[in-house]
Structure formats: C-alpha cells, structure tokens
C-alpha cells in the first residue's frame, strides 16, 4: 500500500521512512504544498502521515482540503504533532484528520496506529469495489428492463423483431 510521509524535518522524515519502509510503498514530501500535489495524483497514496508544522500548507490545512475534495474524501490522514493539549488535538481532528501521533512517538504505537489505518483503507477499498460491482449490476438490470420494455409491444402486436434491430432501438 502507498503511504505518503509529509514532514519538513529530515530527521523525522528519515526515521518514519525507515520504520515504515518495509511495510509500505513510501513516498515523502518535505513541504505541505508538495504533499497536497502528491495526494491529488491519480492512483496517489490513500494513506498519509502529515506533520502539523510545515512550510507551505500545514497538516491541518491539507486535511481540510482533502475533506472537501470528493475524489479524495476517503483518504486516511494521520497528523503528526507535538501539540498534545486537548484543544490542539480537537482542532486537528476537526480539520479532518482521522488520527494523530504526538512526538516523540513510540515506534510500537506508530506501527499500531498505521496498521489500523491500513485496515481501514483496505476496508474502504473493498467497499468501494463492492459498490462499483453493485452499481454495475444495477446498470445491467436497467439495460435489460429497457430491452424488455422495447420488445414487449412488438411481442404483443405479433411482430417479431430481430435482436439487432432491438439493440438499435435501445441505443436511440
């Protein structure tokens, strides 16, 4: 799974990259604006660790943007912060973060939280696949019903219509 680490401090960037590199396909960004660009890419990461204080956009600012962009809504965002007062944490979560980690973080806690994030992203991906399959099935059903409704008058009037002609009518 792809994971974005957005952290301006090379010290923490390296630590996170090394600790999580074996489990994830890690990409890194040293400022908030680059992180936002990477999140918007097609097939971009759906899981991100965002530092709170960064040049360019801050972590909470990125959270807000992600939450108001329908295509990205389902991304799982973890804020990295040393602001551990209740008010700061609430502000981070209100901005749209799914979770937060405070520095200095314990590697066990980091793994546990990122692991939970991975499960949620996987569940969401499964769910999205199922929804797509369902939508697809619904489409087919509709198509069939349209065919039936087009064929019915011909059947009732006793006129037989070739399948090709039927399809031509549907496409109209």
């Amino acid at each position: 799974m792809k994971l974005l680490i957005a952290e301006d401090d090379p010290f923490f960037r390296r630590i996170l990259e090394q600790l999580l590199g074996s489990e994830f396909e890690v990409s890194t960004a040293a400022d908030g604006n680059l992180a936002w660009t990477m999140l918007q890419e097609n097939d971009g990461p759906r899981l991100a660790i965002l530092d709170w204080v960064m040049p360019g956009m801050t972590g909470p600012e990125i959270c807000r943007l992600v939450r108001t962009t329908p295509r990205l809504e389902s991304a799982y965002l973890i804020l990295l912060t040393d602001k551990n007062s209740a008010a700061d944490i609430t502000a981070g979560l209100r901005a749209g973060a799914d979770d937060y980690l405070t520095k200095p973080f314990d590697p066990g806690e980091l793994r546990a939280r990122v692991g939970m994030a991975r499960r949620i992203v996987e569940l969401q991906t499964d769910l999205a696949t199922q929804v797509l399959a369902l939508e697809d099935a619904l489409q087919r059903e509709k198509l069939l019903q349209t065919r039936v409704s087009l064929l019915r008058p011909s059947l009732l009037s006793g006129t037989l219509v070739s399948p090709a002609a039927g399809a031509a009518k549907i496409s109209k």
Binding site: P10, F11, F12, I15, Q18, L19, V53, D82, K103, P107
Partner: protein, 253 residues
C-alpha cells in the same frame, strides 16, 4: 557572544564575584579563570571572612565550597539569606563539590543555594551562571553533564544502531543552522523564526532523549510564540552550551 550579554542593556559585562573556598589551589585557579573573563573577584577562605565580604560589598554571584568544615556552608548561607531577608536582594550562590551526585542537588537547594557545579568549575559553567545573572532569570539548578539517554533513543528506533548513527548525523548537521536561525531571529526581532527553529530542535532533542536541552528549546519556542524575546538571548546562549556538550557526547560514540 558571551561578552555581549551585559552590553546590550548598556551595563558593564564585568561582574563582582565572591569565591568562598579554603583550598588555595582551587580558589586561585577559579580566580584566574574569572579574571581572564573580565570579572572582579574576591576570595574568602572561611565562613567568617565570606560573611564579612558579603557585608562590605555587593556581589553578583558567589561560588561556595560545600565540603570544607572551615566554610561551614550551611551556616554561612543561612546567615547570608537571613541578612537578605532583612535588607532585600538575592545573590545567587553556586555550591562547588568534588564529587557531584544527584543527592548534591537536593542538598544544595535545601541549603539555600541556587545551583551547583563540580570542581573545577568550567568556563562553560561560569558562563551559564553569569548568563542567568545577566538575564535576571531564576537560576536553574545546574546539572552536569547534560544527559543523553542514548538507550531511549535506540529504543525509539527499535534498536537499529545504524539508523541511530544516521539520524544523529542528521541532527548534528542541522543543529548549527537552527542555532544560527535563532540568533538571527533575536538580532532581527523576528519571533516567528525563533519559534520555528526552536520547535524543530525541541522535537529532535526530545526524540533523541536529550531532555534538558529539549526543555530549553521548548521555552524558546514559547517565547517566540508569545512574541516575548526579552529573555530569549540568555536561553539561546544556554541552549548553545547544552548543544555543544551534547555534540561532544554524541561524537564520542
């Protein structure tokens, strides 16, 4: 930059310092160091003399031997503090000991001292103490050396020695730049720059298990945030010393 501490406010940098110590070799060595730094020094070789000097002159700082029976530090300090209660003022007193232990800190505090130092008192210690005097901040109880909890740092990196070496390298490389940014921020009076640089250092120091220096950086971050830079200079100076000690420790390993 140490000499500049007093200059900024227009006062002279030289301080008057009392050394209360009965070991002549120790007191002469400390006297030389202090005089070389431009301070005026008076030596008292027993408790009675120390009290007499204290009564006759105003001192900015007192170094007092904690162990000598001649000095009887407890009684002498008690008398100084009693006199201050009646007349006002508070002169910082630094206890000096041959073999500092954790117990010494408590013992120093209990006796009315403001800090303590191992013998011989290093130039760095002297500068820290004088810096605190110049900034009229409450003297922190001085512990030395600055501790690096290497085991904690290693634990946070899941025991990866190679990663530890690598991130210590990143820290040591980035540190001078952050310190320079802080000093620049003080010169240009830009609290936001101070806040950001202190924030960065604080996080790295805390992660590496350098708690005291991280605390200093945290104070500086707060000052930057509140845009109160009045006492920041003293703290930046202290942080610089703490970091140079950390640097020494880390480079040995």
């Amino acid at each position: 930059m140490w000499g500049q501490v007093g200059n900024d406010s227009g006062e002279k940098t030289g301080r008057r310092i009392l050394i209360a110590e009965d070991n002549t070799a120790n007191s002469i060595s400390l006297l030389r160091t202090l005089e070389n730094l431009g301070h005026e020094v008076v030596i008292a070789s027993n408790g009675r003399q120390a009290l007499a000097e204290f009564g006759a002159l105003r001192f900015d700082l007192i170094f007092m031997d904690m162990e000598s029976p001649e000095m009887d530090a407890f009684v002498t300090i008690q008398a100084i503090r009693d006199r201050e209660k009646a007349e006002g003022g508070h002169v910082p007193i630094i206890g000096m000991t041959d073999h500092p232990t954790n117990g010494d800190r408590e013992s120093c505090l209990a006796q009315g001292m403001d800090g303590y130092s191992a013998k011989p008192v290093s130039v760095e210690d002297i500068e820290i103490f004088l810096c605190a005097v110049a900034g009229s901040e409450p003297l922190p109880l001085w512990r030395r050396p600055v501790l690096w909890d290497r085991a904690k740092a290693l634990e946070r990196l899941e025991g990866d020695e190679e990663l530890l070496r690598e991130v210590v390298g990143i820290f040591l490389e980035g540190k001078p730049k952050m310190l320079a940014q802080m000093e620049q921020a003080l010169l240009e009076q830009t609290p936001k720059t101070l806040e950001l640089a202190a924030h960065g250092l604080k996080g790295e120091l805390a992660y590496l298990g350098v708690v005291e220096a991280s605390e200093t950086a945290r104070h500086l971050e707060e000052m930057g945030k509140k845009q109160e830079l009045d006492n920041a200079k003293v703290l930046v100076a202290r942080l610089r010393i703490q970091l140079s000690q950390v640097d020494g420790i880390m480079r040995q390993i």
